[in-house]
């Protein structure tokens, strides 16, 4: 299957490009897989709900209230989704800045994953905007709210998507057989990486800084002036955990595309990620501890929210951290994967605690997402996976680049 793609790409020198693209649009592989059977109805239902949302207003399908103006679509889709997309800047940092070539085989898939996460989760933001036709105002149109953290985050999302697209573009060039473009685009990689890491540092922390002004609205166990630092540090191991998780799935689903060499290297990669995760989680846990001690909230521990805080810190930070350490010591890849899943759950819990659960925790009525908000969220995630799969089946993301691309350098 992949061999035919090569053949087309190879003798395609600018001619018949339209024909080639049309051919690539056709689905490859079986249509009635369990994933398709589950995802297609949800995506269709999500589409219907989105139409209702633009027709009748945001309140028609969400449970948002005047007290809780941001719900699942911001707290999960955007804030949590972007934390998970942090893997891209961590991996590019290791490969291009620290020159750790051993991780090179997973750069493309991680960058692609990050890029799609930004496109879809930041794109989901449009659904949450009441007046989306004004979305260009902070970009063009002389309405620059430069004192807003959200202004910074919006610009960074946009610029970072461009940087990631440049980082990924050599794969597109290889797919299209565009040799000259490939050379130019490959030359831009280092600049895009440096720019991308800088942007990531600022907007990962910026997502936390957005909540700094909600000082009295967020439960004191989760609010501190260090939210930006916490969000940044936790995005490192959140991103890596997702890379471990996603890697273990891709390795099975797309096993036909991965060379034997990379298959064997994967074990070593995962094990060294376990170490990186453990160390950053230790730093994170220590920071949280310092903030807690300085906040002097000992009395709050013996409340329902206090127990929930302890659950998060001990069960979903300290425990997976120790598990990462242990699995690294005994070189057990299954334990690493389990630790990665617990860490990911912990990140979801943490981001939701700041944005939803701890937000107006003292309000009379609490916010719970409606089933329709959840369906739309799932539809967004499934659409992303569809595009992800479509690209991997066509472009050299997991499989080796064509020989001409390798020889070019």
């Amino acid at each position: 299957m992949s061999n035919t793609t090569y053949a087309i790409a190879k003798d395609n020198d600018g001619k018949n490009i339209l024909k080639f693209l049309l051919g690539e649009l056709k689905p490859k592989g079986k249509i009635f897989t369990p994933f398709n059977i589950i995802s297609i109805p949800i995506m269709l239902l999500g589409l219907v709900l989105i139409v209702i949302r633009f027709w009748k207003g945001i309140g028609s399908i969400t449970n948002l209230t005047q007290d809780v103006p941001w719900g699942l679509w911001i707290g999960f889709d955007v804030v949590t989704g972007v934390a998970f997309a942090g893997g891209a800047y961590v991996i590019t940092f290791m490969v291009y800045i620290l020159n750790m070539k051993k991780y090179h085989s997973i750069v493309r898939i991680t960058v692609l994953n990050g890029f799609l996460a930004y496109v879809f989760y930041a794109g989901a933001l449009l659904l949450d905007l009441g007046r989306p036709w004004n979305v260009v105002n902070p970009i063009i149109g002389n309405s620059f709210g430069t004192s807003s953290v959200l202004f910074l985050v919006a610009w960074h999302f946009l610029l970072y998507m461009i940087a990631q697209l440049i980082e990924f573009s050599p794969a597109i060039a290889e797919w299209l057989g565009a040799r000259r473009a490939h050379k130019i685009l490959s030359g831009m990689t280092l600049a895009a990486v440096i720019f991308g890491i800088t942007l990531s540092t600022l907007h990962q922390s910026g997502l936390g800084a957005m909540y700094l002004m909600a000082k009295e609205k967020i439960h004191p166990l989760w609010y501190s002036e260090f939210i930006p630092v916490m969000f940044f540090v936790s995005s490192i191991f959140a991103g890596l955990s997702l890379v471990i998780f996603e890697g273990s799935i891709s390795n099975k689903v797309f096993s036909d595309q991965i060379s034997d060499k990379n298959h064997k290297a994967h074990h070593g990669i995962v094990i060294s990620f376990a170490k990186v995760c453990a160390v950053t989680m230790f730093a994170y846990f220590f920071l949280q501890l310092l903030v807690f001690v300085h906040g002097q909230h000992w009395d709050l521990l013996n409340t329902t929210m206090g127990y929930w805080y302890l659950t998060e810190m001990l069960g979903f930070v300290l425990f997976p951290m120790l598990l990462f350490f242990y699995s690294y010591r005994i070189n057990n890849i299954l334990l690493v994967k389990i630790a990665a899943i617990i860490t990911m759950l912990g990140i979801i819990i943490n981001r939701l605690n700041v944005t939803i659960i701890g937000f107006r925790w003292d309000a009379a009525t609490h916010y719970y997402p409606s089933w329709m908000e959840i369906v739309v969220t799932l539809a967004v995630i499934f659409t992303e996976i569809w595009i992800f799969r479509w690209i991997i089946n066509r472009m050299p993301v997991l499989r080796e680049s064509p020989t001409w691309a390798k020889n070019q350098k």
Partner: protein, 287 residues
Amino acid sequence: MSINRRSFFKFLSLTGITLAVGKESVAQSDKGQEVDFLSILYDSTHCVGCQSCEFACAEAHGLPEPVGAPEAGKIRKLDETNRSVINCYNTSKGEIYVKQQCMHCNEPACSSACLTNAMHKTKEGPVIWRGNKCMGCRYCMVSCPFDIPKFEFHSANPKIQKCNMCFDRLEERKIPACVENCPAEALVFGTRRELIKEARKRIVENPDTYVDQIYGEDEAGGTGILYLSSVPFNELGFRTNLQKTSYPELSKGFLYSVPTIFVLWPALLLGIHEATKNNHVKEDENE
């Protein structure tokens, strides 16, 4: 030696200022101290809860007529259909009426949160919302310490509803509708400085009537609406846990660090890249 040190610090602070002003000019014109904003003083000891202000407000802004009447023990909340509301509270001195609306902060959290400048602190004082700029992200609602901006969740073309101190009327040299229609003289319109003076005078002249506090003088860095009361403000449903400095101050530190990181990070990253470049020359070099 000492000259070196001094010039070093001078250089450092100059760089800091250039960086700060260069990229993110956070410290906008919102300095309450120098300009005298237009303000409203609300004296709750005069208010009789007649709702004239509510009806005048609804009429002035084309909103539906207010529903219900103030009743002790029952809170009527602000929402997307009313910008001003009167509530009644059972207090240590009997039933007391309180009006609630936008506080028109000197340095509003909402306007500094707004990424399109739709929420705007006018130089005259009122904080206004401009629909042609707003993209409906509701970050103003998340940031406002008084929970004032309200969003039309059930509209395909939703607006933010909040008191704008009748800015359009002010431009026609008329006073806000609520002040004009108050029969009990509970509302006074003027500049912030003279109203604080007036409020102090009332407190000094009637120490038995008023508690010795003007709510809004320092809360959230000072607000354009000032309140006088005969009982402590927490009995009237006011938020008394708010900080005395402005809310935009909370994210200033982060925003000031942005230009620094933007300058330092790329240099640092490039440096590390160059330093580690030749570590693995033997590895395959596919890009």
